[in-house]
């Protein structure tokens, strides 16, 4: 499996913004991950060819940055902030509520493969802590009621 025609076209469009093709590597990886949910290992070589670098370079970049991952776990990714400001005002409670509703903890996937929970470092929304990202979208000022309601709508 390689990049779809549309995805490849989007990557090529991104490359126009950089005087060296490898400059577009991080934006390309973001687009790939947003579209496919992860960076499939079998597209790494194609991406490397596209931006004119080695596969090893793409791998080391994927490995370095926390945002990228090479396999998809649950279809809906829930990332709960764990850094101090969130911890002080209830990040552990958020995880406890999620466990009540979904019966999973950080690093786990629900049996039906719908949800997965991770912990994430400070996302920079500390006044409205505790916060979490659901498929990349920020949810702030979390309460038990909010979480229950949100999970019903997902």
């Amino acid at each position: 499996m390689g990049l779809s025609t549309e995805l490849r076209a989007e990557c090529e469009r991104l490359m126009q913004d950089y005087s060296q093709p490898a400059g577009a590597l991080l934006p390309i990886l973001n687009v790939v991950q947003n579209t496919l949910g992860h960076i499939p290992p079998d597209i790494v070589e194609e991406v490397a060819d596209l931006v004119d670098c080695t596969s090893a370079r793409v791998w080391e970049v994927v490995d370095f940055y926390t945002a990228f991952r090479t396999r998809v776990a649950g279809r809906c990714r829930i990332q709960v902030c764990r850094t101090l400001s969130c911890r002080l005002v209830g990040a552990e409670d958020v995880l406890a509520y999620l466990r009540e509703y979904l019966d999973i903890g950080p690093g786990q996937v629900t049996e039906d493969g719908r949800f997965e929970i991770e912990r994430i470092d400070c996302v920079g929304a500390c006044a409205t802590a505790p916060v979490m990202l659901v498929e990349g979208t920020l949810h702030q000022s979390l309460t038990r009621e909010y979480i229950a309601h949100l999970l019903e709508t997902l």
Partner: protein
């Protein structure tokens, strides 16, 4: 004393993120005036007279570097990779007021005579990325960035560069590496970042929150800006305050106008009722302070770092985290050290090994497996990474200084609490992990 809102002045206006609304409130008038009336050198002079300093944490003056670089630098790289624990100013400026960011950036680009700007933003800022992209699209379509004319200089081009999300990518040379599509690893200087920036070409990195001051300086004058704050540090700072306070949020205050105690008690409403303040982290990467330290003025001068003052901490980005008496200090130190151990880029052994070692010792202390000599060991490891508030450091960048000072700060003030963990073989603090909802939040989120 009322807040001195410049960057936050218009932040609660509905739809200010759209070009029409921004313009209806005077937006882009400053950029037009700059282009019409001033040369690039004159803009640098204006920035010099205003005394504008970096708000990303270094507090260096912008103008001296700009003076040497105007016309020589090829790229302006805008640092919007805000990831320091407790910092949420740039996210809010981007999400609520993207055109103010773009206007500031465009004025900087004019002063530096660059045609290509990269706004380097972290992927976790999904909404901010969309808003910046649509703001760029709006100004491009409106001809505000310039119109392509054959044979003339090409118009200004602003690219929103979505990185990979790493705290270290906010370091100047690491940010440039991420822009080249590499791991965000800081590198030793020289060659200086602005001489050997991106793809071997000169590039300058400035924080997005700093550049947001430029439209205000143009609009109201350098002398007016210089009259705010203190003689050495002019203007305002947008403080971010979070943790156990009644009114967390953003407060924009004149530098030196209030004390840390006033910020916490008068603006943020103090700690929650029935509790007392235990410790304060006064800025991103800054060592903790106690109640007895809080009468320090909020301006770099009085602080050990960067001003050489008496306050035993660092005045950095104004991201304040307040902890009340329900917090276990070993738990808080562990939380931060886990962050640093994960976020260390891993190039320099003292940083890579030191952060992980400190984290491991704290883990066993908090988990009840601490040893009696763990306190000494923590201090020894931290001091070897970087002695307390000293300029000596065991790595390329200041990351290792941050965590070693942070931990030494905790050990200075809370050594008894740390020792008790080892003595009783458990965490002696009755910790409260419940969700706590504040009374209000200062700006619209």
């Amino acid at each position: 004393m009322p807040e001195a809102r410049l960057l936050l002045r218009d932040i609660d206006i509905p739809d200010i993120e759209h070009l029409d609304t921004y313009r209806a409130h005077g937006g882009y008038a400053a950029l037009e005036r700059v282009r019409r009336e001033l040369s690039s050198n004159e803009v640098v002079d204006l920035v010099a007279r205003a005394g504008l300093r970096d708000r990303g944490g270094t507090w260096r003056e912008l103008a001296p570097r700009w003076r040497g670089l105007a016309g020589r630098t090829e790229y302006l790289c805008v640092n919007a990779n805000e990831s320091s624990p407790g910092a949420f100013r740039d996210r809010k400026l981007i999400e609520r007021h993207p055109h103010q960011c773009i206007e500031g950036i465009a004025i900087a680009a004019y002063a530096l005579e660059v045609q290509r700007v990269y706004i380097c933003v972290r992927p976790e800022m999904k909404r901010g990325i969309q808003l910046l992209q649509s703001a760029v699209e709006e100004v491009r379509n409106a001809g505000i960035l310039g119109i392509a004319v054959a044979g003339a200089e090409p118009p200004l081009d602003i690219v929103v560069h979505v990185g990979g999300g790493a705290y270290i990518a906010a370091e100047e040379t690491a940010l440039l590496a991420s822009l080249e599509g590499r791991r965000a690893e800081p590198r030793a200087q020289p060659p200086l970042a602005w001489e050997w920036g991106v793809w071997g070409r000169p590039a300058i990195v400035e924080n997005i929150g700093t550049l947001c001051y430029l439209p205000h300086i143009v609009e109201r004058g350098a002398d007016w800006f210089a009259s705010l704050g203190t003689t050495a540090c002019s203007g305002t700072l947008v403080f971010c305050i979070s943790g156990h306070v009644c009114r967390p949020g953003l407060y924009e205050l004149e530098l030196g106008a209030v004390t840390l105690r006033q910020l916490i008690n008068e603006y943020a409403g103090g700690v929650r009722a029935g509790h007392r303040l235990k410790a304060v982290l006064p800025g991103g990467g800054a060592p903790p302070l106690l109640d007895e330290h809080l009468d320090v003025s909020l301006v770099p001068e009085g602080w050990a770092i960067p001003g050489g003052g008496d306050c035993p901490s660092a005045f950095t980005n104004g991201a304040v985290i307040v902890m009340d008496d329900t917090v276990c200090m070993v738990d808080a130190a562990l939380n931060l050290m886990e962050f640093y151990a994960r976020e260390s880029c891993g190039q320099c052994p003292p940083c890579r090994g030191g952060s992980a070692w400190l984290r491991d010792i704290l883990t066993r202390l908090e988990g009840g497996q601490g040893r009696v000599d763990d306190l000494e060991l923590l201090l020894e490891v931290a001091e070897q990474v970087s002695p307390w508030l000293s300029s000596e450091r065991a790595g390329i960048c200041s990351f290792s200084q941050e965590f070693s000072w942070l931990l030494q700060g905790f050990l200075r003030y809370f050594s008894e609490e740390f020792a008790l963990h080892a003595e009783v073989g458990a965490c002696p603090v009755d910790k409260d992990f419940s969700i706590k909802t504040p009374e209000t939040i200062s700006v619209r989120f």
